[in-house]
């Protein structure tokens, strides 16, 4: 199995902050907005270097989404920053009408997604955001897996015209994607070729999928691991090619199984190549307080859960 080295644990939100800072230096049309969470979103560098291009909105996310939509009229490329919960569910209608339906070039950048937000608990741990965003016509939906990928994605979405939802998280996690890897929206990344089972993972579950594949190899199971960072548009062809070889699939994400990546893939495969599938995802539940590790374990979102799902799906081949 191909080896991946953790270059040093780091948080995906810092990848966002670094990408935004770079955009500040390279693209004069990029502006940033925040609803009173500058530190949490790691936006300080951009603000320090481009104070005139930063808009502190205060605790008013609906207003922030509208202002972002308005800033595009005049050629700006607005990046909004707040927690995933306040970036989506709280402002769904503002995004729907003023951004998505109006085809505004707004980049909705959302940190602290999922249960790995930890101790703050369920009020802040959104597990429904991917579904909410992928249902909006024209919305591109991205969930990155580590610091390097988040930085690369942040830079890449500035070049893409149209609304984008970029989801990342709070905890420090393994940073393993190559520092110079180009981020291609809508293009899956093959991490490990295998023959017995396809594991497709997004976000924080990608590293867990790699650990799971190593453990499976010790049991003589060859797992193909694919990182799907773009939930929409989905790289269905990459999935199809893989399952035609392996005959079964496990999807893994820090999200409700309803509305997430796994659901998108099952919908795609149902109409192209029906395939036994198991979902590593939360089971239509809210989260709770705890450490990220405890929560990932309790809600079945780690490498152990992936191995168990593989064992189960292999029996259904």
């Amino acid at each position: 199995m191909k080896k991946y080295i953790d270059q040093g644990k780091n948080d995906t939100r810092s990848g966002f902050g670094a990408g935004l800072a770079e955009l500040g230096r390279t693209n004069p049309n990029v502006v940033a907005l925040c609803a009173d969470l500058v530190g949490s979103l790691k936006m300080e560098k951009f603000i320090e270097e481009n104070p005139e291009r930063f808009f502190q909105i205060g605790i008013a996310e609906a207003n922030m989404m509208g202002i972002a939509a308005g800033l595009t009229i005049g050629g700006k490329i607005p990046f909004t920053g707040t927690f995933a919960n306040f970036s989506t569910g709280r402002v769904y209608d503002q995004i729907r009408q003023s951004i998505a339906y109006s085809d505004k070039n707004v980049k909705i950048c959302a940190s602290h997604a999922g249960v790995t937000l930890g101790e703050d608990g369920a009020t802040h741990q959104i597990l429904e955001d991917l579904g909410l965003m992928k249902m909006l016509p024209g919305m591109t939906v991205i969930n990155t897996c580590d610091y390097n990928q988040t930085k690369a994605a942040t830079i890449a979405i500035a070049e893409h015209h149209g609304p984008v939802y970029l989801r990342f998280g709070r905890p420090k996690v393994a940073n393993f994607t190559p520092v110079d890897q180009k981020f291609e929206i809508g293009k899956a990344v093959m991490l490990n070729e295998g023959t017995d089972v396809t594991i497709v993972a997004t976000g924080h579950l990608v590293w867990e999928a790699l650990i799971a594949a190593e453990n499976l190899e010790k049991q003589g199971i060859s797992a193909e691991v694919i990182n799907i960072h773009t939930i929409k548009p989905l790289d269905g062809e990459a999935v199809l090619k893989s399952v035609k070889k392996t005959g079964c699939i496990v999807t893994a994400e820090e999200h409700n199984y309803l509305g997430g990546l796994g659901e998108s893939i099952s919908g795609y495969l149902a109409t192209t190549h029906p395939t036994p599938q198991e979902f590593v995802a939360t089971q239509d539940t809210f989260g709770e307080s705890g450490t990220p590790e405890q929560l990932m374990d309790k809600y079945g979102l780690n490498n152990k859960a992936i191995v168990n799902a593989v064992v189960k799906v292999l029996k259904r081949k």
Binding site: V31, E52, R53, F55, I57, G58, A60, A62, N63, M64, M65, G66, I67, A68, A69, G70, L71, T72, I73, G74, G75, K76, P78, D93, Q94, R96, Q97, S98, Y101, S102, D103, K104
Partner: protein
């Protein structure tokens, strides 16, 4: 300045357009449209500084955002008669495959529209973004908006009202269609909103009252006064006192025609009160 008589003729013709549009599809919102006809006509033909043609960015020209999107008939008629698109297209209002959707949208590329509206309460935030983009672009032109008074019951407005003053967005003139009516009845009965002038002033805005909101001269005078208050560190609010359904006697002073089209007989009566001036579409 176009002669007042020309604006008056245009106002009557726009009123006819509104009535005929909603009658044809037996749906739409004539009440608020009629009440704001003088305002939108004056805004586009006397107040705003506009470039020829349409581009989304609208650099170096004034911008207008209609937040209460349900009064699309008046917006469409004024845009068409200003030359943004052919007046014949008013025939397609609310029909399938039309660019003139029930509520305005950019989705079908209708020239003159820069944001979708209809779900209430979102227009002021959008206008704030556009106004701040103008400042970044060193563009000295102004951003205008229109909101229903009932629409101010939506909380997002007050986020925007607080922000506009707090961040000194002084290239914005937000007009409130102060007709005292909403779908379910008079605003004072549905949800009393208190003294709007004092509320805006308390939030740090300059407020201009236009008491005769259906009088072209009063509107022009009031809007010029509002414009003179821009660039002074404060956003500007215009309280435009209008009569819903203005110009059609049986539609006035009631919320009954907020979202109801006239029948054939009612249309004939209404058009009789507004004789053709510039030619029907």
């Amino acid at each position: 300045m176009p002669k007042l008589q020309e604006l008056q003729d245009l106002t009557v013709q726009v009123r006819r357009d509104i009535l005929r549009m909603v009658h044809k599809v037996n749906s739409g919102h004539p009440g608020g449209s009629l009440g704001c006809t003088e305002f939108i006509v004056a805004l586009y033909n006397e107040i705003m500084e506009l470039k020829d043609g349409f581009d989304m960015d609208g650099k170096d020209e004034d911008l207008f955002f209609l937040s209460n999107g349900h009064i699309s008939p008046v917006f469409y008629s004024v845009l068409a008669r200003k030359g943004y698109f052919p007046v014949e297209e008013l025939n397609t209002f609310r029909l399938i495959d039309s660019r003139l959707q029930g509520h305005p949208t950019t989705h079908e590329g209708l020239p003159g529209v820069r944001i979708a509206s209809g779900s209430l309460g979102q227009g002021m935030s959008v206008a704030l973004g556009a106004a701040q983009a103008k400042k970044l672009n060193k563009d000295s032109k102004i951003v205008y908006t229109l909101h229903g008074d009932g629409e101010l019951q939506e909380g997002q407005n007050w986020e925007a009202i607080m922000y506009a003053a707090g961040k000194k967005v002084d290239n914005l003139i937000a007009t409130i269609d102060y007709n005292g009516q909403q779908i379910d009845g008079a605003t004072k009965d549905v949800l009393p909103m208190g003294d709007l002038k004092k509320k805006f002033e308390a939030f740090g805005w300059d407020v201009v009252d236009i008491k005769e909101g259906n009088d072209l001269e009063a509107i022009i005078k009031g809007m010029k006064e509002a414009k003179s208050k821009t660039g002074k560190g404060k956003p500007v609010c215009v309280l435009l006192h209008t009569v819903m359904g203005h110009g059609v006697d049986f539609m006035m002073y009631t919320h009954a025609w907020h979202g109801k089209a006239p029948n054939d007989e009612q249309l004939a009566t209404a058009l009789g009160q507004n004789p053709e001036t510039l030619g029907d579409y």
